[in-house]
Symmetry: C2
Subunit: 375 residues, 2 copies
C-alpha cells in the first residue's frame, strides 16, 4: 500500500466519522424548521463550503422552495429552473466548477444578493421510496473545488436528511391534527348558540396578543393559546335552557352557569396531554378569577391567579361586552375599554390591562375601518 | 504503515460503513414496537452475535423490561439485577467471556429458556442528556469472543438507537393525545344524557370485535375504531329537548334527529386529518344506512354502503336496544340478537351479522356472569 493510499484511507475514515456525527445530529431534531436550518449548516460545515441551501420540492405548485436559505431570504423557484431544477429532472449529483459558463446556471440570484458563486455542488435528496424530495445546493468550496468524495459525502448526508425530514413531517402532521382537534372542541362550544360563534377564537386571539405584548416566551404563549381556545369547554355540561336563555339568568341559573370553569378543568383533565401541556386544564379554569378574590371557581387573589388566567380574564370580558347579544348590541371598542378600566385593580391586573390597551391600539391602527372587529 | 495497521484501518472503514447503514435503518422507523425489534436484530447482525436483547429502563417501577427479546418472551427484571443491572448502575460497557464464572450473571434465564450463554457484551444506551435509557445485552459472538472494537460499535449503535427511541416516544405521546381527544369528543356526546353514557365506547368495541372476526387489516380496524367512537358526534347539533326527550319523538322531532349522521360528517370534516384518516368523517356518517336503501342520510344500498358503515349499523342498533332507556329496560343479549336477525338482509349485512354473532358468543363465553355487559 502506498502512502497516498493510506492517506486516502485515513481521509475516508475521517469523513465517515464526521458523517456519523452529522447523522446523529440531524436525526435528533423533530421540529421541521429547526431541522432544515441544522441540515443546511451541517452540510456546509462537513463539505467545507461557504454555504448550503436545501430546497424542498412542492409537487402541487411545481416549485422548489427554501425556508432557510443561509444568509438569504425565503426563495421559491419553478421546479425546473436553474441547476437545482436540472438535478430534480435528472436525479444526478452535479459538480460545477465554473457556474457562470454553465447554460443552466441562473446568475439572477447572485445579482440580487450580491453573492458570487465560484463553485457549486448540487444533488438530490430522495425519500424512502426513491422519489426526489428536494435538492441540496452547496456553494463555494472554501479550499479548491468540489471533488468526487464531496459528492459521496453529500449523498450520505442527503440520505440521513431525507429520513429526518420525513419523520419531522409525520410529527408535524400529527401536531396539525392536534391543533385542529382543539379548534373543533372550541367550535363545538361556540356552536351551541349562534351569538357566541367565534368567541373562543377571539378570546384566544386577544390572549395571544396580550401575552406577546408582555414578552412571554414562545412556548408559554402556545400553551396559553390552547387554554384560551378551550376556556369555556365546561359549558358542554350546562343545559341549553340556561346557556341560550335570552336575557338575564335567575340566581339559581347563574349558580349553575358558574360551574363551567370547574367543568372545563374536569373534562379537559381527562385528555392525555404530554408534560408540556399538562397544565392547560387547570389554567383554562382560572378565567373567571378576580384580583380581589371575588371570582370563581377558586376565589384566588392577585398573584395566586396564574398570569395566564389574569390575561384570559381581560380577553374574555372584553369579547363578551363587545359582542352582540339577544337583548343588546355589542359595545364599541373604546367604550368597552373604558368600562374594563374601571375594574382594573379589582377584577383585572393593571399590567395585563396596559398590555391589552397597547395591543388593541396597534390592532385598530392596522384596520382601515375602526369598527371592524379583528377576525 | 504496517500491513496490520492498513488492515485494521480497512476493517474500521468497513465497520463505519455498516454503522452508517444501520443508523439510517434505525432512524427511519417511528413506531416504537417495530423500532425495538429492528434495533435488536440489526445489533446482533452488525456485531456478528447470536442474539441481542434491548432492555428499556422503567424508572417508576425500577425495572428493566424488554418487549422484544429475540426468541424469548417479554421480560421484566428489577433494575439492579444481573449483568444488565450492573451496567445500569455503573454506566460502563462490559465484555464477559465466561458468564457462568461471573458473580453478577443470572443463569436463571438460560435455565428457563434452554439457552446457553457463552459470551456477553452489555452496554448502556444514553439519551441526549446522558441519562441511561436502557441496556443492550448482546449474546454469543458467533466467531470467538467480543473485542474492544465490538464495544465501540455497540456504543455507536446505541447512540443512534437512543435518538430513534426518543423520537418514537415523542411520536407515541402525540398519538396518545390524538386518541385521547377522540375519546373526549365521544364522551362529550355521551355526557349530554346519562342514559347514553358509554354508548360510543361500546359501539367502538363491538365494531372492532366484528372487524377482527372478519379478518380486516390492522390499519382499517384502527380507522374504523375512530369512526365508531365518533359516529354520533353530529348529535352536538341536536337540541337537548329532542336528544334527552323521555319517550318517543314526534315526526318532526325525529326528522331533526335524523340530521345527526350528516352533521357528524360536516363537523368532523373540519378536523385536519392525515391522509390515512381522511375518510373517517364520511365513514362515520354511514351508520344509519340500511341494506335495502331505506336508511339515511344518503339512502345507500348494499355494497354502496362502506363495509365500515354496515359494521357500525349492527354495533349501534345492538347497543341501543340492550341499553336502558327512561321508558324501558335494556333487552337481554340473546333476545336482542334474535331481534337483529329478523332484519338481516333488509337492514343488516348477513356476513357482518354472522361475524357479530361469533364475536358475541366468544365475548359471553369469556364472562362468568352471562348478564354482565362487556365494558
Amino acid at each position: 500500500m502506498t502512502i497516498a493510499d493510506t492517506q486516502s484511507l485515513l481521509a475516508e475514515n475521517q469523513r465517515l466519522k464526521v458523517l456519523l456525527e452529522v447523522g446523529q445530529a440531524i436525526s435528533s431534531l423533530m421540529e421541521l424548521d429547526d431541522l432544515l436550518l441544522l441540515i443546511a449548516r451541517e452540510t456546509a460545515r462537513v463539505l467545507k463550503a461557504d454555504r448550503c441551501t436545501l430546497f424542498l420540492l412542492d409537487e402541487k405548485r411545481e416549485e422548489l422552495w427554501s425556508k432557510v436559505a443561509m444568509g438569504e431570504e425565503k426563495i421559491r423557484l419553478p421546479k425546473e429552473s436553474g441547476i437545482a431544477g436540472l438535478v430534480v429532472t435528472t436525479g444526478e449529483t452535479l459538480i460545477i466548477d465554473d457556474p457562470y459558463s454553465n447554460p443552466h446556471f441562473n446568475p439572477e440570484i447572485d445579482k440580487k444578493t450580491g453573492y458570487h458563486t465560484r463553485s457549486l455542488l448540487c444533488g438530490p435528496m430522495r425519500d424512502s421510496k426513491g422519489e426526489v424530495l428536494g435538492v441540496f445546493q452547496v456553494l463555494n468550496k472554501l479550499d479548491g473545488g468540489f471533488q468526487q468524495e464531496d459528492k459521496e459525502l453529500l449523498e450520505a448526508v442527503a440520505a440521513f436528511s431525507a429520513i429526518a425530514i420525513e419523520n419531522a413531517r409525520l410529527y408535524a402532521e400529527l401536531k396539525k391534527t392536534f391543533y385542529s382537534f382543539i379548534e373543533t372542541l372550541a367550535a363545538t362550544i361556540d356552536a351551541r348558540h349562534h351569538l357566541t360563534a367565534g368567541h373562543s377564537h377571539r378570546v384566544a386571539k386577544y390572549t395571544v396578543g396580550i401575552a406577546r405584548e408582555m414578552g412571554l416566551p414562545k412556548k408559554e404563549i402556545e400553551i396559553l393559546r390552547v387554554a384560551a381556545f378551550l376556556h369555556d369547554y365546561g359549558k358542554i355540561g350546562i343545559p341549553d335552557s340556561i346557556l341560550a336563555k335570552p336575557g338575564k339568568l335567575t340566581e339559581e341559573e347563574y349558580a349553575q352557569m358558574k360551574r363551567h370553569p370547574a367543568l372545563t378543568k374536569e373534562i379537559l383533565g381527562k385528555i392525555y396531554l404530554s408534560d408540556d401541556y399538562r397544565g392547560i386544564p387547570g389554567l383554562a379554569s382560572t378565567h373567571h378569577e378576580r384580583l380581589d378574590g371575588s371570582g370563581y371557581p377558586f376565589g384566588l387573589k392577585d398573584g395566586k391567579i396564574p398570569l395566564g388566567g389574569r390575561i384570559m380574564a381581560v380577553a374574555d370580558v372584553f369579547d363578551a361586552i363587545t359582542s352582540k347579544r339577544d337583548y343588546r348590541e355589542g359595545m364599541p371598542y373604546p367604550e368597552a375599554l373604558e368600562q374594563l378600566r374601571e375594574d382594573v385593580g379589582k377584577h383585572f391586573d393593571p399590567e395585563v390591562f396596559d398590555a391589552f390597551e397597547r395591543y388593541l391600539r396597534k390592532e385598530l391602527a392596522d384596520k382601515t375601518d375602526e369598527k371592524k372587529k379583528p377576525s
